[in-house]
Amino acid sequence: MAEVKIRNVSKRFGDTSVLENASLTIAKGEFVSLIGPSGCGKSTLLRIISGLELQDAGQITIADRVVDDLRPSARNLAMVFQSYALYPHLNVASNIAMPLRMQRLNSFQRLPVIGRFLPGSSAANDGIARQVRDAAEMLDISHLLERKPGQLSGGQRQRVAVGRALVCNPAAFLLDEPLSNLDAKLRVHMRTEIAQLHRRLQATFIYVTHDQVEAMTMSDRIAVMMDGNIIQTGTPDEVYDNPTDIRVAEFIGSPKINLIPVDVEPGRGVALLAGADSGVVAEATAVCLGVRPEAVTISPDNGLLAGTVEHAENLGSEEYVQVRLHALPDTLITSRASHGTGWTRRVGSTAHVSFDRDRILAFDGAGKRVACQPGVPHPASGKAVAHG
C-alpha cells in the first residue's frame, strides 16, 4: 500500500507526443481510473509507472521513493495485462507462484528437479505453495490450480492474472484494461469483484480503461485524459456533474450529454436558445449549453422548445427519446424518460422539451466551462425564480 506520485511526466514516440506534463497523485489505498479515448496516453502513463516504458521528462515516486532508475521488478508493483499475459506452458499454480519464486529462490533453486534438493528451497517452496493456495481460495480458483491457461475461460484467466498480481503483496496494482476481453455479462460481474477486492485489500489501484461505466462504478477518483494531458481529476460525481471541459462532458455519460448552441443576450446575460429564454444566465463567452439527458423533460404539449420525435428506444427501465428541434434542425436532443411513458409509439409526433435549469452547464468557444446559473423568470412556467 503506497502513495504513487506522477510529476510532470512527458513522453514522445518519435515525432508524436504521447504525454505532456502529466501530473497526478494517487493516495494510499485509493482506486484511481485513468480514462480516455484510445491514443490519449493512458496506457503509456501506466507503463511508465510500471517501468516498462521510460519517460522523457518528469518523475515517478512510489511510497516517497523516486523510482525512475529502478527496473520494473524493483518497483514492487503488480500489473494485470489486457491479454492477461499468463505463461501458457505453466499451470495456474505455477503462474501465480512466479513472482514469489523470482523473489525468494535464486536461479539455482529455480532449476527443474535439482532445484528442489538445494538447501533452503524446500522451506521456501512450502511457503510459496501456501500463499498460492491462499490467493486461489480468495479468488475462488482453488479447483483450477492444476490446469493450464489454455483450458480456462476468459473470466477464469482474468482471476488467475489477478491472483498472480496480489500474491506478492505489491505497493500498488496496475490494471491495463483488464476487462476488455470479456463478454458484456462477465464484465459487469468482474467489475463488482475487482471493486470488492479493492475494498478488501485496501490497496492502491491504478486502473486504465476506455469504458466510462467501469471508471464510474469502481473508482474513488477518475482522471480523464485527452491528447496526452490529464484534463480533469475528481470523484465520479464531480466529473459527471461538473465537467471542467466540454471533452470531459462528452466523454463521460451515456447517452451523451446534449450540446445546444446558445446566444447570450448582452447586458442581462440571458442565454437564448433559438431566441427563447432558457432561464439561465451565462457568461458572455458561452457558445454552447450542455444538458444531461436526465435533465431534459419532454412533454407532448408544453415546453421550452418544440421538435419532432425522431427515434425512441425502450430499455425496459427507461426510454431514450430523441427529438429534433424545429428551431435548431442540426440539434438532436436526447431525453431520458421514465418507464412506461410510451414515446416509442409516438415517433414522428411533436414534442416539447424543457431543461432542469439547475443542471445546465455552459462552455465557451475553447470548450472550457464558464459560469451559468438559473436567474430569471422561466417563460414556460411563468414563475419567477429568485436567485442571488
Binding site: L52, S73, Q82, S83, A85, Y87, M98, M102, S107
Partner: protein, 316 residues
C-alpha cells in the same frame, strides 16, 4: 373444384415416388462422381508412391540385379546377408552418428543465430540472408566449394590450421576426421533453415509475457530465456529436430562429391551404400533391402513427429 384437388393429389403422389427414385439415383450418381473425381489422385498416388514402395519391398525378397532378364524369389536372403555385412553396420553407425551430431549442432547454432539476429536493431535482413544462403544453394555445387576449401595444398581451412600448428592435410581424407568434417558441412547447411524456423517461432511469442516476467522479478536474459523463450519455442524445436533428423538421415550429396564413402568406409552412410549397391555393383535386390531398412527409420521418425507435435507440445 374437387376434381382439381384429386388430380392435384394424384400428381403429388406421383411426384413423391419420382422424387424417391431420383434421390437414390442421385446418391448413386454422386458417389460415382466422387470416385471419378478422386481417381486421378488415387491413380497418381498408387503409381508414384505406393507402387514403387511395394515394388522395392518385393524386390528385396528376390535376387534381381540391374540388367538381368529374370529374377528368383529368395525370401529373407538379402536381410540375412545384411546381418553379416560389416559395411552395413558401419553405415548404420555412421548415419546415426551423423544425425546425432548434425541435429543438436544445427539446432543450438540455429537457435543462437536466431536469437542474435532478433536482438539486432539494424541489419536483420542482411544477416538473415547470409545465414539462409547455404539453404538456397545447391549442395552439390557447395560441396565442390568445400572440396577446394579442404584441399591440403591451397585450401583455406588446412592452411589456416597449419598456421596454428596442425599438420596441413586434407581432413576429408583422414579416417578419424572425415565424418566430423561432413557433420560440420551438414550443420553449416541446415543451420540457416533452422534459424528461419526459430525466428518465426520467436516472433510468435507475445511481448506481454516478457513484460509480465519483468514485473514478476525475472529481469536477466538467462531467466527470460529459460522461463519463456525456450518453453514457448518447444513446438518449433520439436519440428526442427524431426525435420533435421529426417534430412540428416538422407545425407548423400556431400558424401558422393567429397569422400565416396571413404576412406576405409569411414564416411559410408546408409543412402550412399544403397546407391553403391544399386548402381555401382548392380545388386538391386540388396539395395532394395537396405532401402526398406532406411524407410523403417524414416517411418519411426514420422510417427514420433505426428504423435508429439500434434499432441504434446502445444499449450492451447
Amino acid at each position: 373444384m374437387a376434381d382439381v384437388t384429386l388430380a392435384g393429389n394424384r400428381y403429388q403422389a406421383a411426384q413423391k415416388r419420382a422424387d424417391r427414385r431420383r434421390t437414390s439415383m442421385r446418391e448413386f450418381r454422386m458417389q460415382g462422381l466422387a470416385w471419378m473425381l478422386a481417381l486421378p489422385a488415387l491413380f497418381l498416388m498408387g503409381m508414384l508412391l505406393l507402387g514403387p514402395l511395394l515394388a522395392v519391398v518385393l524386390l528385396s525378397f528376390t535376387d534381381y540385379s540391374l540388367g538381368n532378364g529374370s529374377l528368383d524369389w529368395r525370401g529373407l536372403d538379402n536381410y540375412q546377408a545384411m546381418l553379416g555385412d560389416d559395411i552395413f553396420y558401419k553405415s548404420i553407425g555412421n548415419t546415426l552418428a551423423y544425425v546425432g551430431i548434425v541435429v543438436p549442432g544445427s539446432l543450438v547454432l540455429g537457435l543462437g543465430a536466431a536469437l542474435l539476429i532478433e536482438s539486432l536493431t539494424r541489419g536483420k535482413a542482411f544477416w538473415r540472408a547470409v545465414y539462409f544462403l547455404p539453404v538456397m544453394a545447391t549442395l552439390i555445387a557447395m560441396a565442390i566449394v568445400w572440396e577446394f576449401m579442404m584441399s591440403a595444398r591451397f585450401g583455406i581451412i588446412p592452411q589456416t590450421l597449419a598456421l596454428l600448428g596442425f599438420p596441413a592435410k586434407n581432413w576429408l581424407q583422414e579416417t578419424a576426421t572425415a565424418l566430423p568434417v561432413l557433420c560440420i558441412i551438414g550443420i553449416w547447411q541446415s543451420l540457416g533453415f533452422n534459424m528461419v524456423l526459430f525466428m518465426a517461432g520467436l516472433s510468435g511469442i507475445p511481448r506481454s509475457l516478457y513484460e509480465a516476467l519483468e514485473l514478476d522479478g525475472g529481469s536477466s536474459a538467462w531467466t527470460r530465456f529459460w522461463t519463456i523463450t525456450w518453453p514457448m519455442l518447444a513446438p518449433v524445436t520439436m519440428f526442427v529436430v524431426i525435420i533435421t533428423a529426417i534430412r540428416s538421415f538422407q545425407v548423400f550429396d556431400t558424401v558422393h562429391v567429397l569422400t565416396k564413402g571413404g576412406p576405409n568406409n569411414a564416411t559410408m552412410v546408409l543412402i550412399y551404400q544403397i546407391y553403391q549397391e544399386g548402381f555401382d555393383f548392380f545388386r538391386s535386390s540388396y539395395a532394395a533391402a537396405l532401402t526398406v531398412v532406411f524407410l523403417v527409420f524414416i517411418f519411426i521418425l514420422t510417427v514420433i513427429k505426428a504423435r508429439t507435435i500434434e499432441n504434446k507440445v502445444h499449450y492451447s
